[in-house]
């Protein structure tokens, strides 16, 4: 692992939400470096600010304070247009509920993402890699949850982003299917050399990570480098 190769640098980021009279601090002065090619799992209970952090990393949301550097460029200074390009070229998202377009087939869902990217990968290769070559003309409603999530991963990977951000990717899936998705993500991390960030409230998943970051109430309470990550197939919960 190339520890020196920082892909993203999060510097003192806070996110405040004004809810009427009260101010909710979803993130409190969080600092974090993410290295090229890492597989990171962010662990924390529900409401601890994981998604908020992920959204800020992905250029979907801006912090109230602090800076986020992607390869030395401060994305918190980006305007709407630049942020859009950032999301388009640099990051791929995988959502808890897959969020596929219902009236597009699996392949079309992937194409929807790639047709606006410059360096997109070959769609059929990616669909093959996620094991959906023979289901690519099916609509989401004809696919199981795990298959839908694989389409979503293909959609994120095919853009050929620097960074794959997954918000509770197994949250809506049963154990077996969840493991398969995690293996797939690990495979993507290794074969396609993508930096992967997974957030989850599911502790055991941390065992497969290169690094586990625990958050609670908007703060990082622990950061642990995992010297011997176990393969996802051996995770139990």
């Amino acid at each position: 692992m190339l520890k020196n190769d920082v892909l993203i640098k999060v510097d003192n980021v806070s996110k405040l939400y004004q809810m009427g009279e009260v101010t909710v601090a979803a993130l409190k002065e969080v600092s974090l470096d993410i290295y090229q090619g890492e597989f990171i799992v962010i662990l924390g209970p529900s409401g601890s600010g994981k998604s908020t952090l992920l959204n800020i990393l992905g250029g979907m949301d801006l912090p109230s304070e602090g800076k986020v550097f992607m390869e030395d460029e401060d994305i918190t200074n980006y305007n709407d247009k630049k942020l859009t390009v950032y999301r388009r070229e640099k990051v791929g998202f995988v959502f808890q509920f897959y969020n596929l377009m219902a009236n597009l087939t699996a392949r079309e869902n992937v194409e929807l993402a790639t047709e606006i990217c410059k360096n997109a990968l070959n769609i059929d290769d990616v669909l093959g890699a996620v094991g959906l070559s023979d289901r690519k003309d099916h609509f989401p409603a004809q696919l199981s949850g795990g298959e839908q999530q694989r389409v979503a991963i293909a959609r994120a990977v095919a853009k050929n982003p620097y960074l794959l951000l997954c918000d509770e990717p197994t949250g809506a899936l049963d154990f077996q299917t969840g493991i398969k998705i995690l293996s797939l993500l690990k495979k993507i991390n290794q074969d396609f050399k993508k930096t992967v960030v997974i957030i989850t409230h599911n502790m055991p998943i941390g065992e497969m990570a290169d690094r586990v970051i625990k958050v609670r109430s908007g703060e990082i309470i622990e950061m642990k480098v995992n010297d011997s990550p176990i393969p996802p197939e051996r995770i139990e919960w």
Partner: protein
């Protein structure tokens, strides 16, 4: 194809009912706009071409008697190109049924062919100098079922003159055939025009070497100065007794024609706008709901790196496609339709020629208009796309609060409501916005459907009011010349009358400042039993001892109010014009007149005891008995009026039908779309109910109850809305000759309600399929975007 476009096309496929129903409105809007604009232009062109060919005059002067030399002298007035004398006089025509009153205008033709207002021979030959022949105006000829070679017998100065029909002709003066400004409706079988030689007319009417009408053509470059020229003409002809002079724009046929063509344009523009506005409103609502329900998908698009513009364009293309489909089909339809309609109008107007051109500019305007409407409504509908954040794709929608509704606090009422109705009311009150939008849709439908239903009863009401309440005589008799009051007694000896009143009816030009209008002023006895004058607010007005009562429309034209002094100009050479005070303004739906005490009216003419006709009620055979009586000009019975009214109704029944159809299409489109939108938004909710154990029937029943309640409320709001629309419609349609009463029969409300309910039912049946096809799994997979 771009994947967003693929998605769009599939979206359209899923909502094809809505797509089609909105497209139909756009198609209709564009078709009506393009074809009727072309019809109007083609009509104008045809009419003006006809005028050119027949050399239609610019000024028409009616005089008592004028010798040829005086006409020739008119050329001394600068700007006059041509002046021609003729004889024109209205006489009875003998027809087989002695009860039928038919009148013809006998018009002389100059010896040399051509000239001003030359006739256009449609078939047959020309009238011969020697021998008694005539050419008959086509409308009259057709309406009476005449044939070439038939004899017709005008009754002139106490004698019958049988004439051979040798030709059937058209005339630029009588494209729109009406006897005079007072005739409210065209009745081509009761009044016609026949042309005879000048010699014949001069001899039978006793006009040797002279005429009673001058037709004048003005040089083009002097047309702007026509008013000055008319003044000069009137001055020069003053001693020949100028009865009145009319310029082309005031000419009866011409002005009626122009009114028709103008109103054609106004109506088609109004209908076009109405359709486009309704289409735009539906598009706007539909897209804003789609965008709202697509919130998560939009978040995903943004997360994938689509910018606002592409996403906004994605949704706006929905409406743009509607506009495009509508435009293409509309254009394909409108070109042949404009030809067919032009033809129909030309046939209806009896213009013996046809100019048809395709004006591509209207196609361009039409496409611009529809695209602008569609794009703007699409952008407005989809604009909330901009407010959706990419992070929204991650965040599930906050659950709707299921708190108590205010009605639950009113225990005495709430406790009485059955459980299923409680659920219905809760659903409505918890989704006030959706309920309000369905309710407004239904209200709008009610309003729009009401207008044509109301319009179809308007003419009947107007007729009933005019002949049943405003004036109640059964017969209206005009003498051929002013008579002495004794004539009333003589009439009573001839026929059995229940009640009779003398009348004096004289044309005057009423002038108030710069505004003026030629109308018949009617003098009636102070205690008239036949006229009921009422103020627009319904109060009775009595005939004043002095002063004049104006019809409301006339008062508007003259800008006159009670207390104003208006100048009453007569058409007699030696009698001074006088000022008269306006004492009242009465409602008069058909026609515009002024009314006075009979004796006061006589004073204006410096006469006493003069009558020009009589009003009477009688069960006698009035028309037959008065047939050959000297000095009886015209006998008009309410029954005749009723018949010509019914005939007129026949001719407008189609346009009424078309209006009803349009109202129905609009109404249905609104209700259909709002129902479909509101039900499809709730598919998830229904699926969840299914999961909870409700069966399809129960859900359907619940929806039906909700819709019934909302329909009821919508109709309640729709009633005042419809009333307002009818009032503005009436204001738009009233013309100088008639003002439309806003009387809405209870029937109108009921029929409108029934149609609205019918639309709701049909729309709901269409959505029933969706409920019955509900897939239980949809509820579970509900997070799919």
């Amino acid at each position: 194809m771009k994947k967003l476009d693929v998605r769009l096309l599939r979206m359209i496929k899923n909502s094809k009912g809505q797509f089609i129903s909105i497209s139909v409105m756009v198609i209709l809007a564009l078709t009506i706009y393009v074809s009727f604009s072309m019809v109007a232009d083609n009509l104008y062109n045809t009419i003006y071409n006809y005028y050119d060919i027949t050399n239609f005059g610019d000024v028409f002067v009616e005089v008592v008697r004028i010798p040829k030399a005086a006409i020739d002298h008119l050329y001394t007035i600068e700007g006059i190109e041509e002046a021609q004398g003729r004889i024109s006089s209205d006489v009875p025509l003998r027809v087989a049924d002695p009860n039928e009153k038919v009148r013809v205008r006998v018009v002389s033709l100059p010896k040399e062919s051509g000239g001003i207002n030359s006739i256009y021979t449609i078939y047959g030959g020309e009238i011969q100098e020697h021998g008694k022949t005539t050419a008959v105006l086509q409308q009259f000829f057709d309406a009476r079922g005449m044939r070439l070679g038939d004899k017709i017998t005008p009754y002139i100065a106490g004698r019958e003159y049988p004439l051979d029909i040798v030709g059937v002709i058209g005339s630029p003066e009588y494209i729109y055939l009406m006897e005079n400004e007072q005739s409210l409706l065209p009745a081509p079988e009761k009044f016609g025009v026949i042309y005879v030689t000048e010699d014949f007319a001069q001899s039978v009417f006793g006009f040797q070497g002279s005429y009673n009408e001058v037709t004048i053509k003005i040089k083009d470059e002097y047309l702007h100065d026509i008013d000055r020229i008319i003044e000069d003409i009137e001055e020069q002809l003053d001693r020949y007794g100028v009865r009145r002079s009319i310029k082309r724009e005031d000419h009866l046929s011409h002005s009626m024609l122009m009114q028709e063509v103008d109103s054609l344009e106004v109506m088609s523009t109004a209908i076009t706008l109405l359709f486009l506005i309704v289409a735009a409103v539906i598009i706007n609502i539909m897209l804003s709901r789609i965008v709202k329900n697509d919130r998560m998908s939009i978040g995903v698009m943004k997360a994938l790196g689509y910018n606002n513009f592409s996403i906004l364009a994605h949704y706006t293309k929905f409406s743009l496609l509607i506009g495009l489909v509508g435009s293409i089909i509309g254009i394909i339809l409108s070109i042949p339709l404009s030809g067919a309609f032009t033809n129909l109008y030309i046939y209806y107007f009896n213009i013996p020629m046809f100019e048809m051109q395709v004006y591509y500019i209207y196609i361009v305007y039409g496409i611009l208009l529809t695209s602008i409407f569609c794009i703007i409504s699409g952008l407005i509908g989809a604009r909330s796309v901009l407010r959706i954040l990419p992070a929204d794709s991650m965040r599930p929608e906050a659950p709707k609060t299921g708190g108590r509704i205010w009605l639950e606090k009113i225990k005495p009422i709430w406790n009485r409501i059955s459980f299923s109705w409680k659920m219905v009311i809760r659903n409505i009150l918890r989704n006030k916005k959706r309920a309000a939008f369905l309710m407004l849709g239904i209200a709008l439908t009610y309003g729009i459907t009401m207008v044509p239903i109301f319009m179809s009863s308007v003419w009947g009401n107007m007729f009933m009011l005019h002949y049943g309440e405003f004036q109640t005589m059964e017969y209206n008799i005009d003498f051929t010349k002013p008579m002495n009051t004794n004539v009333i007694r003589e009439l009573q000896q001839l026929i059995d009358v229940d009640y009779i009143e003398p009348k004096t009816e004289i044309p005057f030009e009423l002038v108030n400042g710069w505004r003026k209008k030629v109308v018949s002023v009617i003098g009636v006895p102070k205690d008239t039993q036949f006229y009921n004058f009422t103020t627009p607010t319904g109060f009775r007005i009595d005939i004043p001892n002095s002063g004049v009562i104006l019809a409301e429309g006339l008062a508007n034209i003259l800008g006159a109010d009670i207390g104003d002094e208006i100048l009453v100009k007569n058409f007699m050479p030696d009698i001074d014009d006088k000022y008269v005070e306006v004492k009242g303004i009465t409602q008069q739906y058909l026609g515009i007149n002024a009314y006075m005490n009979q004796e006061e009216l006589n004073k204006l003419m410096e006469e006493r005891g003069m009558v020009t006709g009589a009003l009477l009620n009688s069960k006698d055979e009035v028309a037959t008995k008065l047939r050959d009586i000297k000095n009886i000009g015209q006998v008009q019975s309410v029954t005749d009026m009723k018949n010509s009214f019914l005939e007129f109704m026949d001719t407008i029944i189609y346009s009424m039908g078309v209006m009803m159809l349009f109202g129905g299409i609009l109404g249905f489109a609104i209700v259909y779309n709002v129902t479909v939108i509101s039900i499809s938004e709730r598919i998830m909710e229904f699926s969840s109910l299914r999961v909870l154990g409700f069966d399809k029937k129960e859900i359907y029943k619940m929806v039906t109850r909700e819709n019934a309640l909302i329909t009821f409320l919508g109709i309640t709001i729709g009633i005042p809305l419809g009333y307002g629309l009818c009032v503005s419609m009436v204001q738009g349609l009233s013309t100088e000759l008639y003002s439309i009463p806003v009387i809405i029969n209870p029937n109108t409300y009921a029929i409108t309600a029934i149609s609205t309910i019918f639309f709701v039912i049909v729309a709901q049946l269409a959505t029933m399929r969706k409920i019955y096809k509900l897939n239980l799994l949809d509820a579970l997979k509900s997070r799919m975007s």
